[in-house]
Each structure stands twice: as C-alpha cells, then as structure tokens.
C-alpha cells in the first residue's frame, strides 16, 4: 500500500495523499490550465519534477545553489511592529530583503492623493537610512473612484440594470482620474528619491483598471526614464467589466498572462508580475501545475523581469492568513526550476 504523504490544500489545511494521488492532481491541474487558458501542457519531465517536489516529505525545499532569484516583496513598509521606516530597516537587516516597499496602510491609489506630501516625506527620509532599492507601492483599486466611495457612477450597479453604455462611460471617467492620480503620485515620489513605483493587484476592477495602469505606466516611464515601474496583476485573466477597452490595438478583456505581458512591455514597465489564483478546494500540487502551465508562455516572450506573484491565495500558496512555509517554498522552487523566472 502506498504511504500517505502530508501535503497542503489550497486553503492551507494538511491532506495526506499518496504519490499516485499527487501525480493525478498534477495531471488534472495541467489539463484544467490547457482547457481554460488554451496553453500547452507541461511535459512529462516537468510534471515528474513537480511530483518530486510535492511528494517530498521535507519540511523545507529550496532551489539549487546558484539559482537564487530576486524577491520583490510588497508591503514591507506598512507598519507592523514599528514605524514604517523601522519596518523596512528590519526587513533589510533581518530578513535579507532584496528590495523594499513603502506603502500606505490602505494601499490604494485614490487615498494617496490627499496624503501625498506626507507619504513623499516618509519615502524621502526612509531612503536616507536604508540601502536596498525602494519603491512606493499602491493598488490602482479603481473601484474606489465609483460611488459611494468616489465621484463616478458605480458601473457595478449600472451593469445589472442593463445600462451598459452608462457603465462603460463611468468606468472610463474613473480610469482617467486614476491615470492623473497615478502620475501625480509618481511625480511626488520621484522628487522624494524613489527608485520605482509598484502597481500591485492591477486589474482587480477589470479592464478599465488595467487600461489606466498601462496608460499611467507609459506616461511615468516617458517622464522619468530611470524610474522603474513594477506592474503586478490581480488575477489570472483580465475581467471584462467594460469589454471594449484596448491598448496598443489589443482588447484587454480576457487577456491571460502572455497577452498581459505583451501590453505591459509595450507600456514600458520594468517588471511584470503574473498571477494565477488558488483554488482552495484543490491541493497545492494541483494548483502549482495549473499555475506553471498558465505562466509558462510568458517566459517565451519576456523582455523584462517576470516576478510571478506567489503569496496568499496566488501562485499555489494557500489562501490562508499565515501561508504555511512548506507550501510557499515548494511553490517557489517549482516556479524557479520550471519557469526560470527572474523573481517572485
């Protein structure tokens, strides 16, 4: 009888599966990616490598010496146990952070405009007492521009009423506001000395948000050619909340990671973070197989660093408030070994 190996589910719980069951999950995860995202399946060798990683009983697995990658961790300066600056100093000194990120607690673009000088001052001062490159991070979070939180009509309520034209118009209005705010934010952070801007969870509000972020990236990079822009996504494909928005002649709604990267590179971003959402009802082995199959096409066209998002609920890391380390390290090793990523 096959021994049962402790492994994780997408919700973080332990499951005891046989090697055969893990293999079957990997195959099913790949098949689901092929069906859903129209990508090529992973090879037999790649699936076998995933099996070796996920069937290992080791508490911790790692990449080979020499294969280390850069980690771009968001929110390192969000105020946990000390001031935001001290948090980033801790991250740098104690946790070996390759890069740092100052961000507001709300982490949303719209809220920054009213506190911009304070944020820029914090960044300015933090840059004087740290060494690692530092970016300022926010989520575009376009939904905050809609009523009741913002000035624009709420397209989420207009759509179910059948008011398609009104919903589109409203989301376009919000997107233009977000572009303006993002550029103003970048202006301030550049003056403060920032190395880069991070647009995290891009596309959470669908294609209008993705459009706004691409447009803002284009403007920022043209104004400040030596300022980096990291563009990380919110989901594995772009939701068509508008449906007809395009960038560089390509419709944004429905884009999967490879198509996303094409327009992100066109906009001039310096780093791109694809996302594959975790299915909490499936094993992490299932999830990683699916995730890698979906992201793999990106690596064929990547001209900028690809930092796949592997964190709570994405990239086969469990959707749990404190993601288990055994699951996180397996995801990292699998991504590095098979995708040859530039970072996570």
């Amino acid at each position: 009888m096959e021994p049962r190996i402790p492994t994780r589910m997408g919700d973080g719980s332990i499951a005891r599966m046989t090697r055969s069951e893990i293999r079957a999950d990997i195959e099913e995860g790949v098949a689901q990616a092929v069906k859903r995202a129209k990508v090529e399946p992973l090879t037999a060798d790649e699936q076998e490598h995933l099996l070796d990683i996920y069937a290992s009983p080791a508490r911790f697995v790692g990449v080979d010496l020499g294969d280390e990658i850069v980690l771009s961790c968001d929110g390192s300066g969000m105020k946990t146990h000390a001031t935001r600056t001290q948090d980033m100093q801790s991250y740098e000194q104690w946790m070996g952070a390759d890069m740092l990120e100052l961000c507001p607690g709300d982490y949303s673009l719209k809220v920054v405009r009213t506190i911009l000088p304070y944020e820029a001052q914090r960044l300015h001062d933090a840059l004087l007492c740290t060494i690692a490159p530092m970016q300022y991070g926010i989520m575009p979070n376009l939904g905050l521009y809609a009523k009741d939180d913002g000035p624009c009509e709420n397209w989420s309520t207009l759509l179910p009423m059948g008011k398609i034209a009104e919903a589109r118009s409203s989301s376009e209005e919000a997107a233009e506001m977000a572009v303006s705010d993002a550029v103003r934010m970048a202006d301030a952070m550049w003056e403060a000395g920032a190395d880069a801007i991070d647009f995290d969870t891009t596309g959470a509000s669908g294609d209008p948000e993705f459009w706004a972020t691409l447009r803002a990236t284009e403007i920022i990079r043209a104004k400040y050619p030596t300022m980096g822009v990291q563009l990380g996504m919110a989901g594995e494909f772009v939701l068509g909340m508008h449906g007809e928005l395009a960038y560089d002649g390509k419709r944004l709604a429905g884009m999967w990671p490879r198509e996303q990267l094409e327009v992100v590179q066109k906009a001039g971003a310096t780093m791109y973070g694809p996302v594959v959402n975790v299915n909490t009802g499936k094993s992490c082995a299932w999830n990683i197989a699916r995730a890698i199959a979906i992201v793999k096409p990106c690596m064929e066209i990547a001209e900028i660093p690809v930092h796949m998002n592997t964190g709570m609920g994405v990239g086969a890391v469990p959707m749990f408030v404190h993601p288990p380390g055994d699951a996180a390290c397996r995801s990292a090793k699998a991504c590095v070994d098979l995708l040859r990523l530039d970072g996570l």
Partner: protein, 104 residues
Amino acid sequence: MGGIRAGGDLVARMQMTRGMRLKEAKQYVADKLGVTPFDLSDVAVMTELRDAHGFGRIHSYAISHPWQANLIEAKFNIARVLDVPINCVEKFKERTGLTEPAPR
C-alpha cells in the same frame, strides 16, 4: 538572493530600475565587481566585497562598523561602482549643493 547579506539588493536594483532579466542583471553586477554570478548569493564572498566597496552591510550591536559607509553613503558607492544613477543619491547631491539641480 539575500539582500544586503550578499548581493541581492544590487541585482534587484538592476532589475527594478533597468528592467534587466535575472541572468543579465547578475552578469552585469558580477562583471562590475569582478566576481561570478554564483558569488553574488554567497554571503561569505559578498560580505568582504561589500566591506571593500563600502556597500553597507548587516550590522548588529556586537559587530558594528561605524567607520564604514552605510545607508545613503553606501548608495553613493553602489551608484559609482555599478555605474548606475540612483535617484535618491542624485537628489542628495542636488539638495546639498554638490551638483546643480536638474531642470524641473
């Protein structure tokens, strides 16, 4: 890559601000420092290198190096050795009169 324990921050800077792929970024930094890409993740190699170039380091109460460059000073050295402009370094120079302010 271990951040300032090794050479992770240096490689990250090339990715973040120059859009260099990992292999390219590692090779660029390694060439500037006269080491191999493999060495960049090795704390044993990089601690000595960071000391030599004044790139800043992990420090603790028991192992303080007050005579070495650190923090913004370290970034001056990183910018010079890696031949890459660092925004906060340029702003520091402008605001202390070391250079003329850039046109706004």
